[in-house]
């Protein structure tokens, strides 16, 4: 679910860097405005490691490898911290595993960062009243949002030389293969929130 190097035109990769820089700037400004900006750094650091390793948890569903994305979990647990955490995690994945590319780092950060912030918004709006439902919707919805962004960017950057019909078919198969992942990630967010509520309610994110 990461765009590798050489798939999209250079102009789109540059635009992705611009968009992710704006997103990171906004997130850092919001973090600085928090009453205790340092307070969430330990949690953000640990979740960055979880996010980084999650892309190795692969479920073989043809035609592509389906791996955990965890954008929803990052968004719910970290809020605005999710954006820098995802950026760092994606950079390490690209450099160490070859998942995604360095030129497409900006695009990938947008593909995963925006859904994470959406999941955060869902949790803030409905987390207190319906915690289970909000957690599941945040986790599953983030996967669907990542899919939508990924497909839109791939289709927008299709080179002329490529057979668009075959690529659209392959993208359709990719979306179908990821639908079970949406359910799974919804359950993951729900389970983590329940566990936190029972074990350590102080760690529960609220707004």
């Amino acid at each position: 679910m990461h765009l590798p190097d050489g798939i999209v035109p250079v102009s789109m990769a540059l635009a992705g860097y611009g968009a992710s820089a704006a997103l990171a700037g906004l997130a850092l400004a919001r973090i600085r405005a928090l009453p205790d900006p340092q307070g969430q750094v330990p949690r953000a650091a640990m979740l960055t490691a979880v996010f980084f390793a999650a892309s190795l948890v692969a479920v073989p569903v043809p035609p592509a490898s389906v791996h955990l994305l965890l954008a929803g979990l990052m968004g719910v647990l970290l809020g605005w911290f999710a954006v820098p955490a995802i950026l760092v995690g994606l950079f390490l994945q690209a450099v160490l595993f070859g998942h995604g590319g360095i030129t497409t780092l900006g695009l990938n950060a947008v593909i995963l960062g925006l859904p994470a912030l959406m999941a955060h918004a869902v949790w803030r709006l409905a987390g207190r009243r319906w915690p289970d439902l909000a957690g599941f919707v945040a986790g599953a919805g983030a996967v669907l949002a990542v899919l939508a962004l990924f497909v839109a960017i791939v289709l927008a950057g299709l080179p002329v030389a490529l057979d668009p019909g075959a690529e659209r078919m392959a993208l359709g198969a990719l979306v179908l293969a990821h639908l079970p992942l949406a359910l799974a990630e919804g359950m993951i967010v729900l389970a983590v929130l329940r566990l936190l509520r029972r074990m350590e309610p102080r760690l529960l994110p609220h707004g």
């Binding site: 750094v41 650091a45 960055t48 073989p60 592509a64 160490l96 030389a161």
Partner: protein
Amino acid sequence: MTRGYRLAAFALCLAAPVPALSHAALVTAETATAIRLQAGYDTGDPMAHAQVRIYAPDDPARPWGQGVTDREGGFEFIPDPLPGRWSVQVRQAGHGAMAYVEVGAAGPVSLSTATRPDRVQQAVMVALVAWGALGTALFALRKRGRGDASS
């Protein structure tokens, strides 16, 4: 009469080979060095029926050739005798990779592709990143604790 027939038959025999030649199949055979690719995901699954674009060394913008991988992710082509770096892109559903094939002036072909890290290497990388994250977390906690103590 019979003489006339023989003459006609002779004339036909002379004429016949000319149109018949256009139907002759001519086969020339030569050996050529083909390049065989194997495309797969890092989970071990093959990239079946993925689209392949081949770029010659003299024109990296326009594809020199194209094709589709077979069910096992395999693909073969014979490059022109043009020395330099040939690039082959295999892509499917937004996933894909480039492979580079060095075609030398003398003919021999050396293949260069990225190797994927094995499980042990991946485990080491994950452990190192987790260690870094733990260090960052502890550092932030320590700074925080010190700040609390001084205030």
